[in-house]
């Protein structure tokens, strides 16, 4: 009975911790970092009034969005208009749930068997993430269509066409990861990288995956759907207040998810260094608490590097033209991904 209670508390703790971290800390801090880096790149200060170094700026913005007048534009299709932001949060939250954020652990002997540090342990974790992220198209389409504004519809069509094109490329890149690891369980994929990180054999698929995740999150240099100059801001033109805030929040949380995916697939998750495991460094990440904390922080650090890359790229690169964007997806990344699968399979077979 007490074991059950501990299990439930552990599960509850995982859920609260993770959602708290992601929606309460990571996303707001990401927004703050984004604006600070923007300031840095553009040689200005960025937010500096609210809290130390403007750290509480996101909180202030959140409160502002919450307190804003709930505006319902006249032409919109009400139920679908209200549904779209909620739908945008669901894939973001669901895809988080299956990402392991640390090695399986006994938490320093608290449990008999190692527990996985993920909210929902699925043996089809990778496919689940692919399936759930493919649903984020709907929030975009729904938002654009229900807004009944031509900029919104055009922005939504562009955004979703771009998302599905690059989803294909990232899907094929992931096939080569499956080929290398022989598993679709995210923890097993990390375990398979103890000898060698998949960035080395799968360098090509990484270079397919990276632009693909940038494009799927609609970030510069792939932010054409939002192209302020031509399309106002795209599919969420008609949204304001907390409804807009939800889109914003889910964008940043999806960014965190895809960064975590990139680290899990290609950079060994919480493994220490390529070819040099924690065990070789004399640290037991499964049975000691300190080892678990170290490995988890190491994983978090890798994810943060990726997130920084997102921000850095945004403020450095210009925007693509739409035909260039589609051309890149279909004529470069897709053939490269297919070729890459062919090569990896060939090398593995013979």
């Amino acid at each position: 009975m007490s074991d059950m209670a501990v299990m439930w508390l552990f599960l509850l703790g995982k859920i609260l911790l993770f959602f708290g971290i992601v929606f309460g800390i990571v996303a707001p801090i990401m927004i703050w970092v984004e604006r600070k880096v923007a300031g840095l790149v553009q040689d200005r200060i960025g937010p500096n009034r609210v809290g130390p170094f403007g750290l509480l700026q996101s909180l202030a913005d959140g409160i502002k969005l919450l307190l804003k007048e709930p505006l319902l534009p006249r032409e919109v299709n009400k139920p679908y208009y209200l549904l779209a932001p909620i739908i945008s949060v669901i894939p973001a939250a669901l895809s988080f749930a299956v990402i392991p954020f640390g090695p399986p652990t006994t938490l320093g002997g608290l449990f008999e068997t190692p527990q996985r540090l993920q909210i929902a342990s699925l043996n089809v974790g990778l496919l689940f993430v692919l399936a759930v992220t493919s649903l984020s198209v709907y929030s975009v389409v729904l938002a654009g269509w229900s807004s009944n504004n031509k900029y919104s519809v055009l922005g939504a069509l562009r955004a979703s066409a771009q998302m599905i094109s690059y989803e294909l490329a990232s899907g094929l890149a992931v096939v080569s990861v499956i080929l290398l690891s022989g598993s679709v369980d995210l923890v097993h994929i990390v375990d398979a990288q103890q000898k060698i990180w998949f960035i080395f054999p799968g360098i090509l698929s990484f270079f397919v995956f990276l632009p693909a995740i940038f494009a799927e999150t609609n970030r510069i240099p792939f932010d054409l759907p939002e192209a302020e100059a031509e399309l106002v801001v795209g599919y969420h033109t008609e949204y304001s207040g907390i409804k807009f805030g939800l889109f914003f929040l889910s964008e940043y949380s999806i960014m965190t998810t895809v960064s975590a995916m990139a680290v899990l697939f290609f950079f060994g998750g919480w493994e220490l260094l390529p070819g040099f495991t924690w065990a070789q460094a004399g640290i037991d990440i499964q049975n000691t608490l300190i080892g678990t904390v170290l490995a988890t922080s190491w994983f978090a650090l890798k994810v943060i590097v990726f997130l920084f890359l997102f921000v850095w790229v945004r403020w450095t690169l210009p925007r693509f033209r739409y035909d260039q964007l589609m051309g890149l997806g279909w004529k470069r990344l897709l053939p490269i991904a297919i070729f890459n699968i062919f090569i990896i399979a060939g090398v593995m077979a013979f």
Partner: protein, 100 residues
Amino acid sequence: MTTLLGSKRYYPKKTNPYECGIPSEGAENTRFSVKFYLVAVSFLLFDIETVFLVPWALSFQKFRHQGDGPYLFVVGAVFLFVLTIGLVYEWRKGLLEWNR
């Protein structure tokens, strides 16, 4: 939440479709290019091929341990070849050109 907290001061223009401050022009229900359909349809067909590749990729190591690696490679290579024919067809036909 916002319904409780937010202020409610509507005036008619506020709820107009957004158009940079000037009144909206042109019909809202414009029809869009068929290009978007082609992107979606290519995505659908290639997505299913990807889904078919997943079981193949997953069982590759298992078959390799049983010495059936080359066999599975040929199976996958034929499938990939068919997939590539489709892609080349689209390319040659100009399906992938956005600025036709």
